[in-house]
């Protein structure tokens, strides 16, 4: 029987400066884990965390689409915190327009940021992990949009579906040396948009057995479990939406 994958010790979180990403970073630091976080902009909240956990958090302003900068950041993390053995692909941009009104340039941006860039980051981190003979864990933050249709989110949904599919293939390809999973949150209360307006969010709430939209606090424990706990969960997409989608 093959040995299990040890808990993560150094976790790289993309898009870790606000929202769910920041909540994941905060939770892992509280659990005593070393965390590296990057985002286009380092927010005051992330700066505050870096001051509070100087030996456990390394943060920097990096655009996930800037591949050389991302790779340089990872190498600096390795020399600062130690080898990265876990990755949370959280960085993404949203969409708020019907497909027919989404410009070709915006479509390309969404696919680049939400699909191509995380696949490149995953490739880079895995190459370094495997070259060092390490085992590790990957958690992709996707969305219920990957499994259910919602207006105004065509390209966004396509990228999240792509990451769900990649999660399954990674789990197969990595042969148990790396546990690859995804979390698929339902809509966050903060996600009111022009297309998916308050009326539709109210409707989602009414149809949700737990009676409320998803909050980052609902997702964080699941991400922590996938990164730290000794489970045999691999290649799965865990939906966190209060059963709104069933």
């Amino acid at each position: 029987m093959s040995e299990s994958v040890p808990p993560a010790s150094v976790v790289l979180v993309s898009g870790g400066s606000r929202g769910l990403g920041l909540a994941i970073v905060t939770d892992l630091l509280t659990a005593g884990i070393k965390v590296a976080a990057f985002a286009r902009t380092v927010t005051p909240e992330l700066t505050e965390l870096a001051a509070k956990y100087p030996d456990h958090l390394y943060a920097g302003p990096v655009d996930i689409n800037d591949t050389p900068a991302v790779q340089a950041f990872v190498k600096t993390v390795e020399s600062t915190l130690g080898p990265v053995d876990a990755l949370v692909n959280n960085a993404a941009i949203g969409q708020d327009s019907l497909h027919v009104h989404t410009s070709p340039e915006r479509l390309e941006d969404i696919i680049q940021t939400n699909l191509t860039a995380p696949l490149l980051l995953t490739r880079f981190v895995l190459r370094r992990m495997l070259a060092k003979g390490l085992k590790g864990r990957i958690v992709n933050v996707t969305s219920i949009c990957a499994q259910r249709g919602y207006p105004g989110l065509v390209a966004y949904s396509a990228t999240k579906g792509g990451m769900d599919a990649a999660t399954r293939s990674l789990a197969r390809e990595l042969g148990g040396r790396v546990l690859a999973n995804a979390v698929a949150p339902g809509f966050f209360a903060s996600e009111m948009s022009a297309v998916l307006g308050q009326t539709q969010l109210d409707q989602i709430v009414r149809r949700t057995p737990t009676g409320h939209l998803t909050e980052p606090e609902d997702v964080v424990p699941v991400v922590r479990m996938l990164l730290l706990d000794n489970t045999n969960i691999n290649g799965q997409v865990l939906v966190i939406d209060g059963a709104a989608s069933i």
Binding site: R127, L130, A131, G133, L174, G175, R177
Partner: protein, 83 residues
Amino acid sequence: MSSVARDRVRELMGEVMTAQGRSLPADDSAELRTIGFRSLDFSELALRVEDELDDELNFDAPGLRRIATIGDVLDFIEQLQSA
């Protein structure tokens, strides 16, 4: 592109095996299936070779082929380096 000598590749292959608590037989005809050298182990070996080359191997060039023995692995790495 410079190349990593066959003997050195064999040493690196041994390091991959040793890191997993196993050893690499001296006989190149030993079956990978028998010694427990899996596809991910091959990836780890290729990444170590790339590290020494400071360049990526071109996996697009060679066609699919049967890699069943230690000698096959060493041949394939040689082929990748010359691609």
